[in-house]
């Protein structure tokens, strides 16, 4: 899906996302059909599986919003006892999954992840 160069550049963007926002503890870019393209994390999460599950959840989100005629699905938020996970489209084929363990960091997680997704979309659009 992505060339090696694109993978390296995408990983760089995930790296800066984690460097600039200490609350975000992992970020994954996955294809919509569930293949991991790039990842970055502070802890040891099973990111391959998270990537595939991210594709499942994103497609369900798209299916639900289409059913309700609410336009495109921007993001899916999963708020949990131990943290928050956000899933969002980068473009038609790619999904960004990010997570934080801080329960009060939802706005920050969404804002920074959205910016990162836009940067990745721009990068891939230009290469």
């Amino acid at each position: 899906m992505l060339s090696n160069l694109e993978k390296v550049q995408t990983t760089q963007l995930l790296k800066s996302l984690l460097q600039n926002t200490s609350e975000i503890c992992a970020a994954v870019v996955t294809t919509l059909d569930g293949h991991l393209c790039a990842k970055e994390q502070r802890d040891e999460y099973a990111l391959e599986r998270l990537a595939t599950m991210g594709s499942t959840l994103m497609s369900l989100g798209d299916t639900i919003t289409a059913e309700l005629k609410m336009g495109a699905c921007r993001n899916i938020i999963s708020e949990n006892e131990g943290g928050i996970v956000a899933f969002m489209h980068i473009n038609q084929d790619l999904v960004l999954v990010t997570l934080t363990q801080q329960l009060n960091a939802l706005g920050m997680l969404l804002a920074h992840s959205r910016r990162c997704a836009a940067e990745i979309a721009k990068l891939l659009h230009n290469t």
């Binding site: 294809t31 919509l32 569930g34 595939t52 499942t56 497609s59 299916t63």
Partner: protein, 176 residues
């Protein structure tokens, strides 16, 4: 029985999504996305969450039909979708490279459900590849000490699939 939940599983491209679209009386829920890997060579789109449809048999029995993604990386969905299911349909693409090995993957993963609920095997695309024949499938099951009905089906043909489902539902009614 009030409503029966059935699950279609099996190899990618075997026809799970096509079968549910052919059968359903309601607009199907479909989660196919563009395939980005080697699968794209065979099929443009692939299921990443589930298919869902509903139908009524001629005797009034209502069926809820779920389809799983085929690829093993989505096996967490297999477990989720089997929750509460009374019957399992394993579809195998006979035109795939190793149909019996494909079947083996699902027999292994779903063994617990096969033993506790009812299951049938539907071999699809036999018009594209005649071999292995159904007798080879029966031999293969015998090796695994399994006795399941095997059908050759063209899932594009509604009546064909209905016949297989009626057999499965009859097994269920017999078992309960």
């Amino acid at each position: 029985m009030k409503e029966i939940k059935l699950v279609f599983t099996g190899s990618m491209g075997a026809g799970k999504t096509t079968a549910i679209s052919a059968l359903s009386e309601i607009p199907v829920i479909n989660t196919d996305v563009r395939a980005t890997d080697e699968a794209a060579l065979r099929k443009e789109r692939t299921t990443v969450a589930m298919d869902y449809g509903e139908m009524t048999l001629s005797d009034g029995q209502k069926l809820r039909l779920y389809g799983t993604p085929g690829q093993e990386r989505f096996s967490y969905m297999w477990k989720i979708l089997m929750e509460g299911a009374l019957g399992l349909i394993i579809l195998v693409d006979n035109a795939g490279e190793h149909p019996l090995q494909d079947l083996d993957l699902y027999l292994t993963h779903f063994r617990q459900y096969i033993d506790s609920t009812s299951a049938v095997i539907g071999v699809t695309r036999m018009d594209m590849a005649e071999q292995p024949g159904l007798d080879e499938y029966y031999d293969y099951l015998a090796q695994k000490e399994l006795q399941l009905p095997i059908f050759s089906v063209d899932v594009r043909d509604r009546d064909n699939v209905v016949m297989m489902l009626e057999a499965l539902v009859a097994m269920l009614e017999f078992a309960y």
